[in-house]
């Protein structure tokens, strides 16, 4: 197994993170946004693993397990919310979901 440079892995992680970020920002569909968020989480996890490998410490992998668990929880709640949104609004387009917009205070 070739020795992979930690730098390279970190760069990959950064690229993944930016891709995920761009996905969150540009996607209209909530499901795709969730997927992009997953990508970002995994990018962070990759960075942890790389860092753990670099310093020869188990902490990185422990953190990754945490992230994995958290991501699973997040996705389950997120998908539940997505289902509800689909039920109530018949759309998954975030552009149409603006119920939290500030009303004009003088109305």
């Amino acid at each position: 197994m070739n020795h992979v440079n930690a730098h390279t892995v970190l760069i990959v992680a950064a690229v993944l993170f930016v891709l995920g970020l761009i996905g969150t920002l540009t996607r209209k569909n909530v499901i795709f946004m969730l997927i992009s968020v997953e990508v970002m989480l995994n990018a962070a996890g990759l960075a942890f693993v790389a860092a753990g490998a670099k310093w020869q410490q188990p902490d990185g992998q422990v953190m990754f397990l945490f992230i994995l668990a958290m991501a699973a929880a997040e996705v389950s709640i997120g998908l539940a919310l997505v289902l509800q949104i689909q039920h109530q609004n018949k759309t998954l387009d975030v552009g149409d979901l603006r119920a939290l917009r500030d009303e004009d205070i003088n109305e």
């Binding site: 970020l21 969150t24 920002l25 540009t26 946004m33 975030v94 552009g95 979901l97 603006r98 119920a99 939290l100 917009r101 500030d102 004009d104 205070i105 003088n106």
Partner: protein, 628 residues
């Protein structure tokens, strides 16, 4: 006797209370009995008091009665206590006696008025306040009476409140006198600061000591108090309210705006004579104001067409004589003129009221005429009053009171030719307009039908007043004619005697001039208004004469002047600031907040992506800050 002193003002007060609280449930005759009865009883008590005073004068010339301590703080201690000396007694006598006659007259005059009770309630309250004014032994109580009469004057001028003009006149009277009153209040504050007391006897004692050297503050105080007197007595420059005040019923004009209230200023100055004597400047101001007022108001009286306005201007003019006399130090002459004036002017107003009432509320003298035979009694009494006003020599009270003033205007230490000339011109003018009034109203042809005739209750007071207007002067004669000075003997117990110049010409010369001038005035009116009415017609055509006439008719355009200088600017300021400029300031602050909030709420648009971008920018910002 003097333990019943309080009854004199208390009786009218009681009348007021009964009439104001229960007046609407009482029958007219009960109201009349209560209203007139209270004042008549007070008059009777006053007579008793007066007789007692003359027979056995009190030790120090004063009756006093302490009712209760009003308030006392620190060194300011004011009590409600009455005191009556010769000067007060003269005023009390006039107020109650003339007041009683006018009340009796009013019971008939106001017979058909809807607010019979309100009228007598106000009249009684007036009499009470006026009595307190002249009986007060300290200036705060005097001020109480002073404001009280102002209130009653306001209520009675605006008695027929449905007409806006009457309300306007009432307000005007209150406002203008209030200006004087406020100056007077400041005068009281100043006096208290300087002397530390507001008790009149103490003031009279302390003033000479306090202002012994350098009386600048004394002069200032005197002028401030004088301003109060000027306002109440309708003297220049606060005279404009009195002609308008004629909007009230005629008995009101007779009592308040002729006999009593308008002479309150005279009383005030006489009461505090020591203070004024210490200030030559204030004395000169009083004299000059009096002289100018008597002349200017007299000129206006010459051209008026409303019978009551003629009398109003004449009142201003006659009070001008009183002020003139006060200003030259002829104290007792001033008080004597007040005394006779109260009778003949009340008489004139009451008689004018009878005429107006008979002619169906006609005020314009040129629509009257020829009443000489059809209203015999009114004519004769009116004649007595007008003759007294014109000061026909020897046969009228007016002569005996006015002649000394004319003489002292020249001969008193403070008198001079200027004052005398104005006074003598005033005498001519007075004679002129009195005669004009008589001729136009009672001679010539009848122009308006008589609708009703005055009843007994109206005629009786007229006759009594007419008798006094003719004979009242015999108690005080000029020194060169006869040594009978019953009146000034009493007055000089309180007020000092007049100081004359040295090396004077004979008094007869001045009397002669005065008599000639008076007769000249009568003759001129006779010529113009009876013999050759053509001249008058010719004058009416000439624009110059007409503009002079209008100028005088409107009282030397003082109303217009004040309107432009004071009233309009005040109204303008209040109008533009109606919304309160500070409110705009606070609304501005509120608006600013609203605007800022709007700006911020743009970011709160509900778009998820917008928020994420916001978070991102925030993070980048923080990281950048960290790196830097």
């Amino acid at each position: 006797m003097h333990q019943y002193l309080y009854l004199i003002p208390a009786l009218p007060l009681l009348g007021f209370l009964i009439l104001s609280l229960a007046g609407r449930h009482l029958s007219r005759s009960v109201i009349a009995w209560v209203g007139a009865g209270s004042v008549c009883t007070a008059a009777l008590i006053t007579m008793g008091l007066g007789i007692g005073f003359l027979q056995t004068p009190p030790a120090n010339g004063v009756y006093t009665q302490l009712l209760w301590n009003w308030f006392s703080v620190n060194r300011l201690s004011v009590s409600v206590s009455l005191s009556v000396d010769a000067l007060s007694l003269i005023f009390i006598f006039i107020i109650t006696f003339v007041g009683a006659l006018i009340h009796i007259y009013s019971t008939a005059f106001m017979q058909n008025d809807r607010d019979y009770a309100r009228f007598f309630a106000s009249m009684n309250l007036f009499v009470c306040s006026m009595l307190i004014l002249v009986m007060a032994d300290n200036l705060v109580l005097l001020y109480l009476g002073w404001e009280g009469v102002g209130l009653c004057s306001y209520l009675l001028i605006g008695f027929w409140y449905e007409t806006p003009a009457n309300c306007h006149a009432a307000n005007k009277a209150f406002f203008i006198t209030r200006i004087g009153d406020t100056a007077m209040a400041v005068g009281l504050f100043f006096l208290f600061k300087e002397i530390g007391t507001l008790q009149i006897p103490q003031i009279l004692i302390e003033v000479p000591q306090h202002f012994a050297n350098g009386a600048n503050n004394g002069t200032l105080i005197a002028i401030l108090l004088l301003a109060g007197g000027i306002g109440k007595s309708a003297q220049l420059p606060l005279q404009t309210w009195l002609p308008d005040a004629m909007a009230g019923p005629s008995p009101v004009s007779a009592l308040i705006h002729a006999a009593t209230m308008v002479t309150a200023g005279v009383y005030l100055i006489a009461r505090l004579h020591v203070l004024f004597e210490f200030s030559p400047l204030a004395m000169s101001i009083i004299a000059v104001i009096g002289a100018l007022t008597l002349f200017m108001a007299g000129c206006s009286a010459m051209v008026q067409t409303d019978i009551k306005r003629i009398l109003a201007y004449s009142t201003i003019s006659q009070i001008g004589y009183m002020f003139l006399a006060l200003g030259i130090g002829a104290w007792s002459a001033a008080i004597f003129h007040f005394f006779t004036h109260a009778f003949f002017k009340a008489l004139l107003f009451l008689a004018a009221g009878a005429v107006i009432e008979s002619l169906h509320h006609e005020h314009n003298i040129f629509k009257m005429g020829g009443l000489k035979n059809s209203m015999r009694t009114v004519f004769l009494t009116f004649l007595a009053g007008a003759a007294s006003l014109a000061a026909l020599p020897l046969v009228t009270a007016g002569f005996f009171s006015k002649d000394p003033i004319l003489w002292y205007a020249w001969s008193a230490e403070n008198g001079n030719a200027f004052l005398w000339l104005l006074a003598i011109a005033g005498a001519f003018i007075t004679a002129f307009y009195s005669t004009r009034l008589m001729l136009v109203v009672f001679w010539g042809e009848m122009k308006t039908q008589i609708t009703e005739r005055p009843g007994k209750r109206m005629v009786l007071p007229l006759i009594i007043l007419a008798v006094i207007a003719v004979a009242g002067g015999f108690i005080e004669w000029p020194h060169n004619l006869m040594h009978l000075t019953l009146f000034s003997e009493q007055v000089q117990k309180v007020l000092p005697a007049v100081v004359l110049k040295e090396n004077l010409p004979s008094e007869f010369i001045f009397q002669g001039i005065a008599v000639l001038v008076t007769l000249g005035g009568v003759y001129m009116a006779y010529v113009l208004y009876y013999q050759e009415k053509v001249t008058l017609e010719k004058w009416r055509q000439s624009p110059a004469m007409l503009s002079i006439r209008n100028f005088l008719l409107h009282g030397w355009a003082f109303d217009e002047l004040y309107d432009t200088v004071f009233v309009q600017p005040f109204l303008f300021i209040t109008r533009i600031n109606k919304k309160d400029i500070f409110d705009q300031l606070y609304n501005g602050i509120a608006q600013l907040n609203v605007t800022l909030s709007r700006l911020l709420s743009i970011t709160q648009n509900g778009s998820l992506r917008w928020y994420i971008a916001g978070v991102l920018i925030g993070i980048l910002f923080i990281i950048t800050m960290q790196l830097l």
